[in-house]
């Protein structure tokens, strides 16, 4: 046996050797997953029309020439769709987070057969491919509910809220489990009636989870293009995500890169605001692992 193979064997047997292959795999994966996005961001600052050949740095596609109407800022329909996106996201966030939080509290405390069925339905709405929910809402709004709600902004908000309601439920329920019932029972021992023990004790304890899920819902709604595309009949109710999707199927100019970068910034901003609020509140509390609430499901 040569010394080389002996040293290879010793290296192989060493239980504390660094897993170089896995290290390379991990960094390779991270580069693969993030670098393309950074390149797309960079090309929104391209001076030319291409999104694959670099032709110099410019803000042309962001704030360029009002007369050419080709930049994110000066293309009227792009600007309108950004406003529409934000409006959809805010409305969806308010509905989904309030309904979802109440649902999570109710389901967590209500024992019997009812909550099992309600919870099953909720989880089903979470795991079904979005196209199934989108198509069924689309059919409901064009046939059965045609005279109640027709396709448009209201239908979009109703659909988005239905799709997003499970996020706050999952995040808030996880938080409820980690809080336990001690605080609430202490409050009731001290004479608080049910409404007060929920409003003044339980709800403040849930704020971190509520903020986290609000940020998640906002970010996810800005990005959504499946449900909203089916539930919108006119060009005026197309959010930026749908505009991007439609443009991407043709030959998109870098203003679309600017639009996706804008969506990215909006999402990251929502997540950061939510995260700062989350950290401020959990600083004084017996908190779970920080930040775990910021993923859609339990890790």
């Amino acid at each position: 046996v040569s010394t080389a193979s002996l040293s290879v064997r010793r290296w192989w047997r060493d239980p504390w050797r660094r897993p170089r292959f896995l290290l390379a795999l991990t960094w390779g994966y991270l580069a693969w997953s993030l670098v393309p996005v950074l390149i797309a961001v960079a090309f929104s600052f391209n001076a030319g029309r291409s999104r694959s050949a670099w032709q110099g740095l410019s803000l042309r596609w962001w704030i360029g020439d009002p007369t050419a109407a080709e930049s994110l800022l000066y293309r009227p329909e792009l600007r309108a769709s950004v406003v529409h996106s934000v409006w959809l996201a805010v409305a969806t966030m308010l509905i989904a987070v309030s309904l979802g939080t109440l649902f999570a509290i109710g389901i967590d405390r209500w024992h019997g057969r009812g909550p099992g069925i309600a919870n099953f339905t909720m989880l089903l709405s979470f795991v079904l491919p979005e196209i199934i929910l989108g198509v069924s809402l689309f059919l409901a709004f064009i046939y059965l509910l045609r005279d109640v709600v027709s396709l448009g902004t209201t239908a979009q908000i109703l659909g988005l809220a239905t799709y997003q309601i499970s996020y706050p439920v999952i995040v808030v329920r996880a938080r409820l489990l980690s809080i336990g019932k001690d605080y609430e029972e202490a409050a009731m021992d001290l004479g608080a009636p049910p409404t007060q023990s929920v409003r003044r004790v339980l709800l403040p304890l849930l704020y971190p989870a509520i903020f986290a899920s609000a940020a998640l819902v906002f970010a996810d709604t800005i990005d959504d293009f499946v449900t909203v595309r089916y539930l919108c009949a006119a060009a005026s109710c197309e959010p930026i995500s749908v505009k991007v999707y439609d443009a991407a199927r043709a030959a998109p100019p870098p203003s679309v890169n600017a639009a996706v970068t804008f969506m990215l910034v909006a999402t990251l901003l929502a997540i950061s605001v939510g995260f700062v609020a989350y950290r401020r509140i959990t600083r004084e509390q017996r908190a779970g692992p920080a930040g775990r609430d910021f993923i859609g499901f339990q890790v």
Binding site: P15, L25, A40, L99, R109, H111, V135, A140
Partner: protein, 331 residues
Amino acid sequence: VASEAAADTDVVPTVPRTRRWRSPRKKGGGEGARISSVLYPRWYWPSFAAPATVWLAFLFILPFYVVLSAAFGTVDLFGNPLPIYQPWYWSTATFQDILGRFYGTDAFYRPALIRTLVFVPAASLLCLILGYGVAYYVARHAGRRKGLYLVLLISPFWISYLMRIYSWQGLLQPDGLVNKLLGWLHVVSSPVGWLQGRPSTVILGLVYGYIPYMILPLYGFLDRIDQNLLEAGRDLGAGPVKTFVRVTLPLSRQAILAGMVIVALPMFGDYFTNDLLGSTKTAMFGNLIDNAVESPGGGPQAGSLVLMLMVLLVVPLLYYLRSTKRAQEAA
């Protein structure tokens, strides 16, 4: 009843009003259930869950009924689709027509179904192989830098799927960076048409899109594996590979299955990855549904296809829901 009320006041003597809210129960769900049912009226907690339950009933369950009614509906005098809401009048004509497009002589939907049944398992398996390695490294070897790795692993969740796929669309253009790099390395002599309906592009696109959903649950699971078990394996003379195969891998079987289902479910309904990175030559089941929705009067076809997709997904769906329920009960 009087003695029960007396017992209640013993539990919480400072809250005399609780007697009004008391709701005696035959069966309780353990200690917590007993206390909360004593302190709260019976309708109290259900009323919290009621708004969302009503919401889901009208906007989740009811639309499914409309899907059935449209798929088993008929057409009016002008040939427009007319859903039928009474099950006893349902007609299976449209549904059978769609079903006929999957088999028989005129099976022009079949290639899309076969592609879906090949692309999705292939992409899920690739997600697992790649994702397991990454999750394993971060869970076991990241050390002090675990926080950084986690932020980097989570960040794709905050970047829209649309943007991630759109970015690749730019890179894979004929004059895009991928072709430039390959040309510069002399791997290819002329630019490759990556976006002209190549199965490999669509599969890699699916892997790229959904792998974060695989890595995080796997990481969460691998992170919880007791290090002592691994050390015991080592102490008993197993090498690193043997420890992995005999200890870690069997322990993570549940997590692997759950991760596969988590990534495969949305892939089955995916149409946008192929829309942006493929062509009609790589159309999947989701594209059939999307095309039906976009065609005028295609509601019943879309409804029938959605029903078929749900039948296809029933087993993985139920598996996932059951394992989630188990995990919730264990917690």
